[in-house]
């Protein structure tokens, strides 16, 4: 019954999509017809139908309707309610339905909020957005239908991958998707603006909010994923340059570049074509991200559901969209005004160009590093791995000039500024940064010869962004985001330099010395939970002043049978104590890993600050 409701509503949504696509060219010819008429009702019906189908899927998960194949494959009656619900988008079919849901809701919001803009622009945006929606509907209905019926109806489902049964990871996909899908509106509207010849100030002003919204959700989505990786995957790191992580970082670089460019477009009517190119690229990257993750091409820890044949469909769809947009770009490119005339080397405009240059460089490193191994394997069957050392080697050297530019760039004036703007004050801060970094590295005992430039650059940015709070000229949201970024870089560096790790095989009652601390394995007990058994250890960590107890777990899930280790982390403002243990084969011994991670919490706080700057910028403008 539920399957039918889901299926039918998706088919009605498909029908509305086709109707809108057919009607748009007719409406375009008759100029004075208002969009809020028939097209608006069609869009509303479509959104409603997709919402119904999504709710249907959630209900099927809640009541464990095993006549639904997706529910059977990804749920189990013994699962807690929260994970039954989050399980509905924790799988391939459901996650695509979520993509579709966000697509249609965003389109509805776009239609409602763009009433002041030209009809032609609005209809064209709707048209392109509907093509994307149509593509996803076809994809869902014919290759990944979440409403397939099973007969005879099984009594019990096979369960959700236990590693996904986690609060951060339950909300991570929806947040990330809001970011990804937001870029589709940017894509459609940039093409529409291109065709209607309205790539200008007012377009920039309108699309800026969408850029910000996508950027904020993407940032928070990435943050949630990193936090999850930190406490769940059990190695104490938060970023592994894993292909699936990279895929979410690429549109982030692109959006960041786009946002800065849009600001210039809004204020100075410059960089029109570049803004369009970035809009198209951002969406292509988000789509490729979905493709790469869902197709199973990537060898990655995060690829939970994959099926190569589906990848072919997304690949074709992506190919059509990109070809279409390139075609449109070159066909209508002459409609774009281009004025590069009044750009001087020391100006805010150039500063943004330099920001874009670095963003594009970081993007290209991540993109090439992620895709290159795939191509190499196809071309001459060589398998290579591209991991953290590659990214560090290419990104870190460029970080230094980037951070310094980021410190001085925002203080430049528009159009033309004097070179002696790099003034005494900044010089003093620079010297201060050298002194601080020198003392810091000396105390830590790191070979400062090599790390010094990186620390100097980060401290410099840190001091300058703090100082900038006292300057009235720039806006507060920018200051917060830029300060957040400097804090982020600094915390990552300090964390990287000061992190300490101890690993040993221990049995209950053992005691080990590490630095000035004593690690004692006090006890071990077995807990019975609803859908798993857990082995809970109790470690006591004592140093001179105080002692803490850490209780990591090893969980044995029964549906499906999986063992996971849950780290126990004690976070303070200064440092995290991270402890995880694993079962070893020889009796009684457990592998214990204890890590001290200074300033870990500041990495999370800084990303929240970065996003908060964006939120503030939206609220301030509309409030």
């Amino acid at each position: 019954m539920l399957n039918q409701i889901g299926n039918y509503s998706l088919y009605i949504a498909l029908l509305s999509s086709i109707l809108i696509i057919i009607q748009s060219p007719i409406l375009l010819k008759r100029n004075n017809i208002n969009v809020s008429g028939r097209i608006f009702s069609l869009i509303s019906i479509q959104s409603l139908m997709i919402i119904i189908s999504f709710i249907t899927l959630i209900i099927a998960f809640i009541i464990s309707d095993f006549s639904n194949e997706t529910v059977y494959n990804n749920s189990h009656t013994s699962k807690p309610l929260f994970y039954k619900i989050s399980g509905s988008w924790g799988n391939h079919e459901g996650s695509l339905l979520l993509w579709l849901l966000v697509l249609s809701i965003f389109l509805l919001i776009f239609t409602i909020t763009s009433k002041s803009l030209s009809n032609q622009y609005r209809i064209l945006t709707l048209f392109f957005q509907e093509i994307i929606i149509l593509g996803f509907l076809l994809f869902i209905l014919f290759t990944s239908n979440p409403f397939m019926s099973l007969f005879p109806i099984p009594n019990e489902g096979t369960g959700l991958n236990p590693i996904l049964q986690d609060p951060a990871l339950a909300i991570h996909p929806p947040i990330l998707y809001l970011g990804y899908v937001g870029t589709s509106i940017i894509f459609s509207s940039s093409l529409a603006a291109l065709i209607s010849g309205s790539v200008n100030k007012s377009w920039a002003k309108h699309i800026k909010n969408w850029v910000l919204v996508s950027w904020i959700f993407l940032s928070i989505g990435i943050l949630l994923g990193s936090i999850w990786a930190y406490y769940e995957l059990g190695w104490g790191g938060f970023w592994f340059w894993d292909p699936v992580e990279n895929v979410s970082l690429m549109p982030w670089f692109c959006l960041t570049a786009l946002f800065h460019t849009i600001l210039i477009l809004e204020k100075r009517e410059m960089f029109h074509s570049w803004a369009v190119i970035l809009s198209i690229t951002t969406f292509s990257l988000s789509m490729s991200g979905t493709f790469l993750v869902r197709s199973g091409i990537l060898n990655s820890i995060h690829t939970f559901a994959n099926d190569p044949s589906r990848g072919v469909f997304i690949l074709c769809f992506l190919f059509i969209l990109i070809t279409l947009s390139i075609f449109i770009y070159f066909f209508y490119q002459n409609k774009i005004k281009n004025n590069f005339t009044n750009t001087y080397i020391v100006s805010k405009e150039t500063a943004v160009l330099i920001n874009n240059l670095f963003m594009m460089f970081f993007l290209s490193v991540v993109l090439i590093g992620t895709v290159y191994p795939i191509f190499l394997e196809v071309v001459n069957n060589d398998k290579i791995s591209v991991g953290p050392p590659f990214y560090h080697k290419l990104i870190v050297p460029f970080m230094i000039p980037f951070l310094i530019f980021m410190a001085i760039g925002p203080n430049f004036n528009w159009i033309k500024d004097k070179i002696n703007k790099i003034n005494l004050q900044q010089l003093l801060f620079f010297i201060l940064s050298i002194i601080v970094s020198f003392i810091f590295l000396k105390r830590v005992g790191i070979s400062y010869l090599f790390s010094l430039p990186l620390f100097v650059a980060s401290f410099f940015l840190f001091f300058i962004t703090i100082k900038d709070f006292s300057v009235k000229k720039t806006n507060l949201s920018q200051k917060i985001s830029h300060f957040g970024f400097s804090l982020f870089i600094l915390s990552v560096l300090v964390n990287g330099v000061l992190a300490k790790e101890y690993s040993s095989n221990m049995k209950v009652g053992d005691e080990r010395k590490f630095l000035n601390k004593t690690i004692k394995f006090e006890s071990l007990k077995i807990n019975e939970n609803k859908n798993y058994q857990s082995l809970e250890a109790n470690f006591k960590i004592t140093d001179k002043n105080n002692s803490i107890n850490l209780k990591p777990e090893v969980r044995v899930y029964d549906q499906p049978q999986t063992i996971t280790s849950e780290a126990d982390i004690e976070s303070t403002l200064y440092s995290d104590n991270f402890l995880v243990f694993n079962i070893l084969k020889n009796d009684g011994f457990y592998n214990v890993r204890y890590q001290i991670k200074p300033f870990m919490i500041w990495i999370w706080i800084s990303i929240i600050l970065i996003s908060f700057g964006g939120i503030l910028s939206i609220v301030k403008k509309n409030g």
Binding site: L233, G234, W235, G237, F240, D242, P243, N299, S300, I301, H302, T303, F340, T343, Y344, I345, S347, E349, T350, L353, I354, L357, M360, F361, S364, V365, I368, G369, Y372, L376, N380, D382, K383, I384, S385, V386, G387, P388, P389, F390, H392, K393, L394, V396, P397, F398, I400, P401, I446, S447, F450, S451, P453, L454, N582, K585, N591
Partner: protein, 120 residues
Amino acid sequence: MKIKILVLAIFYLIGFFNLLYAANSEKVDQISKNLRCLICQGQSVYDSQSDFALSMKILIQNKIDEGKNDEQIYEFLKSKYGEWIVYDPEINKNTVLLWVLPLILFVFGGILILRKVSIK
């Protein structure tokens, strides 16, 4: 001239940081962080607790005790398990584009900006 300086600056930075990356930590840790755990999904040997990773760490320790240097150990592992095992692909005719392409793009973009803006 400007372009020359840009290119030179980039090569200087790259060379400099390859030195930096060879910073010291425990040698086994350092090597095993650069190795893929072949039986895991996207984890390094260092981070993994699998049997493969554990025996790998012992193997590396033995090689160090035999007096082999990093280069020799990587070469040995590559000949045994293939290029796939190292996370840090060496530069050869297969991977030269991987390393150089982003740099070319950066230089290209830099030139583009320098040409568009006026210096005065």
